[in-house]
């Protein structure tokens, strides 16, 4: 039997826990409010917007849509600059080259296309995948030479952008490959797949086998991205989980349930610890991955297919399933130093 004194102590402890919990929650709410991102819709595609990519100097972004077009927008003002037409199917992904001069797009029509950003002219149509192209990512070198793509045909392909030639096919995934990312040091490529793995490949074209197979997701992995220092990889899956991996050894640094629905896109800010996630649960969230600490949670009201963030995290770009392209623009710098873990 519990003595009366022990009972009082037990109750006290519970009250203290409750107070601590309330405090933590209020800090988290305060942080999200003080982060003060304001949302505005800058334009619309004629069908679901599936992807967004901000260029390196944060002056432009590209969006891809089920309406088969790509749109270029200026930043920070959000003016629609150009509509690029040519694909014969949904544009699933877009990526700027490291020097911001070229744009790659991947489409349901099984092609990877290269566009000149200034003129909007289609420079190359690269055919070789035998399924829809889901992911594209440019080599982030200042003088880019390659673009990587992933497809429902389970492969990762590398294309020479000067000649349009298919220079490598990487095969090891056992299910469709969903997305791909180039490391910023140019040494590796990461691919995400329905086989629930992330595979790391060397950019040395003589190597065929993956350098590492990252296992930890329990659902199809939808996207993958490197931090700007190439030290970490973030991936997200169809269960709403996000994993932060050590890019050097493949170890799991953080694993957390970020959303209640699939997370189609994630992006790092330049500090390499702020991560934005977007989900079909209608939420866009900002995380400090060192916790992870939830810095901001905004209900967009529609499903989110694509997110990207400018270097200093002051603007988040969103591609929505109602076709709208939205910007979350930060008003005031947050001052509170604590948040919910």
């Amino acid at each position: 039997m519990m003595l009366f004194g022990e009972y009082i102590m037990y109750k006290k402890r519970r009250i203290i826990y409750l107070i601590m919990l309330l405090l933590c929650s209020s800090f988290a709410i305060s942080y999200a409010q003080i982060s003060n991102y304001k949302m505005r819709t800058i334009g619309k595609h004629n069908d679901e917007a599936l992807a967004v990519f901000i260029n390196k100097d944060n002056t432009m972004m590209a969006t891809g849509s089920q309406d088969e077009t790509i749109k270029l927008w200026s930043l920070p003002d959000g003016k629609e600059l150009k509509t690029l037409v040519g694909h014969l199917g949904s544009v699933y992904n877009v990526s700027f080259s490291g020097n911001d001069r070229l744009l790659a797009s991947g489409s349901e029509d099984q092609t990877v296309r290269i566009w000149d950003v200034n003129s909007g002219v289609e420079m190359k149509v690269m055919r070789g995948h035998t399924g829809p192209v889901i992911g594209v990512y440019f080599d982030q070198d200042n003088d880019p030479s390659l673009v990587a793509s992933t497809s429902f045909d389970k492969t990762v392909k590398l294309w020479d952008i000067a000649t349009g030639a298919e220079v490598k096919t990487l095969r090891a995934h056992t299910a469709p490959t969903n997305n791909v990312a180039y490391s910023y040091d140019g040494k590796t490529i990461a691919s995400a797949s329905d086989d629930s793995t992330v595979r790391i490949w060397s950019t040395d074209l003589k190597k065929d086998a993956p350098l590492m197979v990252l296992r930890g997701h329990r659902a199809p992995v939808l996207t993958v991205v490197y931090s700007f220092d190439s030290e970490m990889i973030a991936s997200s899956d169809a269960n709403g989980e996000v994993i932060i991996w050590d890019a050097k050894n493949g170890g799991i640094l953080r694993k957390f349930k970020a959303h209640n629905d699939l997370v189609q896109d994630v992006a790092f800010a330049a500090d390499n610890k702020t991560l934005v996630t977007g989900s079909l649960d209608n939420h866009v969230k900002l995380w400090d991955i060192s916790g992870p600490i939830l810095l901001m949670d905004m209900d967009i009201g529609v499903g989110v297919w694509g997110v990207d963030i400018v270097s200093n995290a002051s603007i988040i770009a969103i591609a929505c399933d109602d076709g709208s392209i939205r910007l979350l623009t930060k008003g005031v710098e947050p001052v509170i130093k604590k948040g919910k873990k």
Partner: protein, 235 residues
């Protein structure tokens, strides 16, 4: 002895030049996989490589286990034709221009080959039409050129274009739309040199049972346009 020495000295520069040119003459290789278009299974088929003068320079067979093949000894800056001419499969040809390079390079290319069998169903993997429209989309010629080449290389093959609608709203409208789509595609083939007698078409009142429109959550992010198939009717 003196003569041999003179001869050796005389030949040395030529040997040196030859060795140098060997170093400069880079070699290009191409590798990939060959699959059956109907089931994506790897295929073991004969592959022939012809140079731009029509001279056969190599003949290999793809690996039965994984469909892999590897062709080497190709010269930079040259155009080659890779031909598939197995008895059991439709003839297929792919022209590849090897970019100019001064170092060893490997290129990659996968092939989908069509079995020579009546009623083989080939799904055209791109959306040739807009929703509820029957006019071929701008840019469709890039993809349709593959089928024109195929029909030209296999001149006895007869095909049927089978088109499916984008929804199940109105069966009569759907039939009319899909027949118009079939007709558009046939006209395109005919205008590109294919005999009209080789092509028939068929419309449908309802959506493709083998590739139905996604419903509920699965429809998110997917735009459904009715499928178009080419069915091999005879040889």
């Amino acid at each position: 002895m003196k003569k041999i020495l003179i001869l050796t000295l005389f030949c040395l520069p030529f040997l040196f030049i030859n060795a140098q040119s060997q170093l400069v003459q880079a070699v290009v290789s191409i590798g990939g996989r060959v699959y059956n278009i109907t089931n994506n299974q790897p295929l073991s088929v004969n592959i022939e490589i012809f140079d731009q003068n029509g001279q056969r320079i190599n003949k290999i067979k793809s690996n039965a286990t994984d469909g892999s093949y590897f062709i080497t000894g190709l010269k930079p800056g040259t155009t080659y034709e890779i031909r598939f001419s197995d008895f059991d499969y439709m003839k297929y040809s792919y022209s590849i221009q090897i970019p100019a390079t001064d170092k060893y390079v490997e290129y990659s290319k996968d092939f989908l080959i069509i079995p020579k069998k009546t009623q083989t169903k080939i799904l055209i993997p791109v959306k040739l039409f807009e929703t509820h429209k029957s006019k071929l989309k701008y840019g469709a010629d890039l993809f349709l050129s593959d089928y024109i080449n195929l029909l030209k290389l296999n001149p006895t093959v007869k095909i049927k274009i089978v088109s499916f609608p984008d929804d199940n709203a109105n069966p009569q409208d759907n039939l009319a739309l899909t027949q118009q789509r079939g007709s558009s595609l046939k006209d395109y083939f005919v205008s590109n040199g294919i005999d009209a007698q080789r092509i028939s078409f068929e419309g449908n009142e309802s959506t493709d049972p083998d590739n139905p429109p996604p419903t509920g959550r699965a429809s998110k992010g997917k735009k459904y346009i009715g499928s178009t198939y080419l069915i091999i009717e005879g040889f």
